[in-house]
C-alpha cells in the first residue's frame, strides 16, 4: 500500500513537471497513429475488394458466359469480358473517372480528373476519407469493367468484334459514366445524401445491373436472333465452366457489395452478410420453382438463381437486415426464373445468355425492394430519420422508382442511338458465314478446344 501511494506520488510529480505543450504533442501523435492505423485497415480491405471485383469479370463472368455458349463461340465470348478489362481501364484513366466522380453538375462529373490529374495518395473526403483517392479510383474502375461485360451476354454468338469494341467504348462514355455520376458522384442528381432525388443504391442496382440488363435487351432486339434460333439446338456447351464461373462471381461479389462500404467497418460486415444470405435464398428459390415446373432441379437453374440473388441484393446490401435480404433474394430467384423461361419465350427475343432476364429484372426488383426494406438500424444515413418503407418512409420507394425509371430510360435511349451509330460505322452483326463457322475461328482465328494438338 505504501509502495503504491509512493509510486502514485512520484508519478504526479513527474507529470506536473512536463510542459503542457508536450502533452498536446503526444496526444496529436496518438491521434495521427490511430488515423494511420484505420487508414491501413481500410486501404487493405479496399484494395482486396478491388481485386475481387476484377475477378468477377475475369475469370468469373468469362467462364459463366463462356460455358453457356456453343463450343465454337467460347473464345469470342470470353474475349468480350477480357478485352473490356483492358479497354475500360484505359478509358477510365483518360476521362472515365473524371466524368463519373468529378464534382461537375448533377449529370456530368466534368474534367477535373482527366488523365488521373491529382488522383493519388490523398483521400477524397467526399467519397472515402480514410483511403487514398487512388484506391477509390481503381475500385470504382472495376465496376465500370464488369457492367458492359454483362451486356455481352445478350449479343453472344453473333456480334462483330470491331462493332463490339466501338459499341462498348461509346456505351461506357454515354450511358455508364453519367449514370454512375448521377447516383454516386458528387452533386449527382440521384445521390443518397446530396441528390435532388435521394435514391438508395448501395453497390449498383441501377448503375450496374439495370443499365446493363436493359441495354442488353435493346441489343438483343436490334441485332435480331442468332441464326437457327428456335430450330437448331443451342445448348450450353459446358455447364462445368459456367458453374466454376458462378462460384467465382459469388465470392467476388463480396468485394462488390461489402467493399461498397468503402471502409473495413461494421457496414461492410452487414453488406457481406446480407449478400450471402440473399444469394443462398435465391439459388434455392430458382431451383425449387424449376423443380416443380419441369420435374428436375438443374444446376444451371441453381447457379442462375444465385446470380439473380446477387444482382437483386446489390442495391440493398448496405441498407437491409439479413432476413429481408433473404426475402429479396428469394423474390429475385423466382421472378427471374419466370422471366427467362416463360416471358422470354412468349416474346421470342433472343437474349442469348439472359443478361436482361437476370440483370435487368433482378436489378429492378432489388432497387424497388431496397426502398421497401432500407432501415436506419443498418445504415443511419439520414441521422435518425426513417430510411425505407419499413422505417415508415414510403416516399423512399417512389424515389427509388424514379432512379429505376431514369436508369431504364437512359439505357434504352442511349443504347439505341449508340447501336445506330455503330451499325453505320463498323457494322454490328457478324455475316452469316462467320456466324455459322463460329466467331472463334471467323473473328479471332483460334479454336477453344484443340484436342488433337
Amino acid at each position: 500500500m505504501t509502495r503504491l501511494s509512493l509510486l502514485f506520488l512520484s508519478f504526479c510529480t513527474f507529470a506536473a513537471a512536463q510542459p503542457v505543450a508536450d502533452l498536446d504533442k503526444r496526444l496529436a501523435d496518438l491521434e495521427k497513429a490511430a488515423k494511420s492505423a484505420q487508414s491501413a485497415g481500410d486501404n487493405a480491405w479496399m484494395l482486396t475488394s478491388a481485386a475481387l471485383v476484377l475477378m468477377m469479370t475475369g475469370p468469373g463472368l468469362a467462364l459463366f458466359y463462356g460455358g453457356l455458349v456453343r463450343r465454337k463461340n467460347i473464345l469470342s465470348t470470353m474475349m468480350h469480358s477480357f478485352v473490356l478489362m483492358a479497354l475500360v481501364s484505359v478509358l477510365w484513366a483518360v476521362v472515365g473517372y473524371s466524368i463519373a466522380f468529378g464534382e461537375g453538375n448533377s449529370f456530368f462529373g466534368g474534367l477535373q480528373y482527366v488523365f488521373l490529374h491529382g488522383v493519388g495518395a490523398d483521400p477524397n473526403g467526399d467519397y472515402a476519407a480514410t483511403i487514398p483517392q487512388g484506391t477509390f479510383m481503381v475500385y470504382q474502375l472495376m465496376f465500370a469493367i464488369i457492367t458492359p461485360a454483362l451486356i455481352s451476354g445478350a449479343f453472344a454468338e453473333r456480334m462483330k468484334f470491331s462493332g463490339m469494341l466501338l459499341f462498348m467504348t461509346l456505351w461506357v462514355l454515354i450511358v455508364y459514366l453519367p449514370m454512375a455520376h448521377m447516383v454516386w458522384g458528387k452533386n449527382g442528381f440521384l445521390g443518397a445524401t446530396w441528390g435532388r432525388v435521394s435514391t438508395f443504391d448501395f453497390a449498383g442496382g441501377t448503375v450496374v445491373h439495370i443499365t446493363s440488363g436493359v441495354s442488353a435487351l435493346v441489343c438483343a432486339l436490334y441485332l435480331g436472333k442468332r441464326k437457327g434460333y428456335g430450330t437448331d439446338p443451342m445448348r450450353p456447351h459446358s455447364l462445368v465452366l459456367s458453374t466454376v464461373g458462378a462460384c467465382l462471381l459469388w465470392v467476388g461479389w463480396f468485394g462488390f457489395n461489402a467493399g461498397s462500404a468503402l471502409a473495413a467497418n461494421a457496414l461492410a460486415t452487414s453488406a457481406f452478410v446480407a449478400t450471402h444470405f440473399a444469394t443462398a435464398a435465391a439459388a434455392l428459390g430458382w431451383m425449387i420453382v424449376e423443380w416443380v415446373r419441369t420435374g428436375k432441379p438443374s444446376i444451371l437453374g441453381a447457379i442462375s438463381g444465385a446470380v439473380a440473388g446477387l444482382v437483386a441484393i446489390t442495391p440493398a446490401s448496405g441498407f437491409v437486415k439479413p432476413m429481408p435480404a433473404m426475402l429479396i433474394g428469394l423474390t429475385a430467384g423466382v421472378v427471374c426464373y419466370l422471366m427467362v423461361s416463360v416471358v422470354k419465350s412468349k416474346f421470342g427475343y433472343d437474349d442469348a445468355l439472359d443478361a436482361f432476364g437476370v440483370h435487368g429484372i433482378g436489378g429492378t426488383v432489388g432497387a424497388i425492394l431496397t426502398g421497401v426494406f432500407a432501415t436506419k438500424e443498418i445504415n443511419d444515413l439520414r441521422m435518425g430519420k426513417p430510411m425505407g418503407l419499413v422505417d415508415g418512409n414510403p416516399g423512399q420507394v417512389v424515389n427509388n422508382l424514379i432512379g429505376v425509371a431514369i436508369a431504364w430510360g437512359l439505357a434504352i435511349v442511349g443504347t439505341w442511338i449508340i447501336l445506330k451509330v455503330c451499325d453505320a460505322v463498323t457494322g454490328l452483326r457478324a455475316n452469316q458465314q462467320d456466324e455459322i463457322e463460329g466467331l472463334d475461328l471467323s473473328m479471332h482465328g483460334e479454336e477453344g478446344y484443340n484436342f488433337e494438338a
Binding site: P233, T294, S304, Y337, V340, S341, K344, S345, D354
Partner: protein, 112 residues
C-alpha cells in the same frame, strides 16, 4: 473370318471388355459414336428451353474372330451389353476376306 460390329451403351463397355477377355478375345477397336435407333433420343431443359437431343452417345466396338467362334463371341457380347431396356444397341456381322498382321505378314486366322 467374321467381323463383328456392335453399337452398345457407353456404360456397358467395361462389362463387355471383361466378358470377352474371359473367353480369350483380346483384340478390339472402340470408337465413341453418336446415333439413335428406336430409342429416339431424350429431352433436355436449359432455363426453361426444351431441346430434343436425338443423337445419343454410344460406343462402337469392332473385332474380327475366326468363323468357328462367331456364335460364342456374339452371345457373350450380347449378354454382357444387355440391360433389357430400349437403347441397348445392335450387333452386325460381316464376312472378312483377309487379315494381315503388319509386323510379320501373318495371314488368316493366325493374324487375328
Amino acid at each position: 473370318m467374321k467381323k463383328i460390329e456392335a453399337i452398345i451403351q457407353p456404360h456397358k463397355i467395361e462389362d463387355v471388355k471383361e466378358a470377352l477377355k474371359q473367353i480369350g478375345i483380346d483384340g478390339m477397336t472402340i470408337t465413341e459414336v453418336r446415333g439413335h435407333g428406336r430409342q429416339k433420343g431424350h429431352k433436355e431443359v436449359y432455363r426453361g428451353m426444351e431441346y430434343q437431343v436425338d443423337l445419343l452417345p454410344k460406343v462402337k466396338l469392332e473385332l474380327v474372330v475366326p468363323s468357328s467362334r462367331l456364335d460364342e463371341v456374339t452371345k457373350t457380347l450380347a449378354d454382357a451389353a444387355r440391360t433389357g431396356k430400349i437403347g441397348d444397341g445392335k450387333i452386325f456381322v460381316f464376312d472378312v476376306a483377309e487379315a494381315i498382321r503388319i509386323r510379320n505378314d501373318d495371314r488368316g486366322d493366325t493374324a487375328l
